[in-house]
């Protein structure tokens, strides 16, 4: 084969998906957001589990964890995680629809993408009001 002979020069071909000229669409954005929210949620999970561990261990430890949890930083992480969990939740439901061969028309899929984004904001606001 040509590879490894030394005289072979690899041709510089553009790599997919051509990020500089890629036109983003609702379907791609909503898909990427699912992955991002799923991973970003770990911030909220780590803070929440640490806070629970502190509550289990001792009063001074809980005072520290609870101070972080109820600080502006803790509230930012928890509110962000709340939106992330609702977005990931709705996007997951959308995947269940797709698996059932529903909503695969491009127009419908784009509407469902908007539904995930707007719905997650609405559910976040609703949760903050209730809790």
């Amino acid at each position: 084969m040509a590879e490894g002979t030394g005289s072979f020069r690899r041709v510089e071909r553009p790599l997919s998906p051509h990020l500089q000229i890629y036109r983003i669409q609702m379907t791609s954005v909503s898909s990427i957001l699912t992955r991002i929210t799923g991973h970003a949620l770990m911030a909220g999970v780590i803070l929440g589990v640490w806070w629970l561990l502190a509550a289990a261990v001792s009063e001074p430890y809980f005072a520290l964890a609870n101070a972080v949890m109820t600080s502006w930083f803790g509230k930012l992480v928890m509110t962000g995680s709340l939106w992330a969990v609702w977005y990931h939740y709705l996007a997951g439901l959308r995947h269940l629809l797709f698996d059932a061969r529903l909503g695969l028309e491009i127009k419908t899929a784009e509407r469902l993408g908007w539904a995930c984004i707007l719905g997650s904001v609405a559910l976040t606001a609703l949760t903050l009001v209730i809790v």
Binding site: G38, W51, A55, A56, V57, M78, L82, L96, D99
Partner: protein, 123 residues
């Protein structure tokens, strides 16, 4: 000699012969989380901001304790397997192996720490 037919051996296996099991696990765990999370988010959110005694009392409740344990275990397996796909998508070679070990371990540490805290609180 195998008496199973070629078709029977192929049905449900998918092109890679392993991906369907992963996909089905994510489907099952996502449905479980979809059922549990609205209730759990309410219970967890209500517990934030309380004194230590109030927090301990909230998670000592059997329903809350069991639900929290389930959410922890299922969500951390869901995360580990979902994150593993991201590692497989973007990382190669040693970085891939290290990444797969890392996300799996992180999920295990978080789930076990949460369960330890729950056991100390609830029992």
């Amino acid at each position: 000699m195998q008496y199973i037919t070629d078709r029977k051996r192929a049905v449900g296996a998918g092109a890679a012969h392993t991906g369907t099991a992963h996909h089905w696990f994510m489907t099952v765990s996502s449905v479980a989380l979809a059922v549990m999370l609205p209730v759990w988010l309410y219970l967890f959110g209500a517990a934030i901001g309380g004194t230590r005694d109030q927090v301990v009392a909230a998670f000592a409740n059997p329903f809350t304790a069991i639900l929290t344990a389930l959410v922890l275990v299922v969500s951390m397996r869901h995360f580990a397997k979902g994150s593993a796909v991201m590692v497989e998508d973007y990382a190669h070679g040693t970085a891939r192996k290290a990444g797969l070990i890392f996300v799996s371990s992180l999920a295990a540490v978080i789930a076990t720490t949460g369960l330890y805290a729950l056991i100390r609180i609830a029992l």
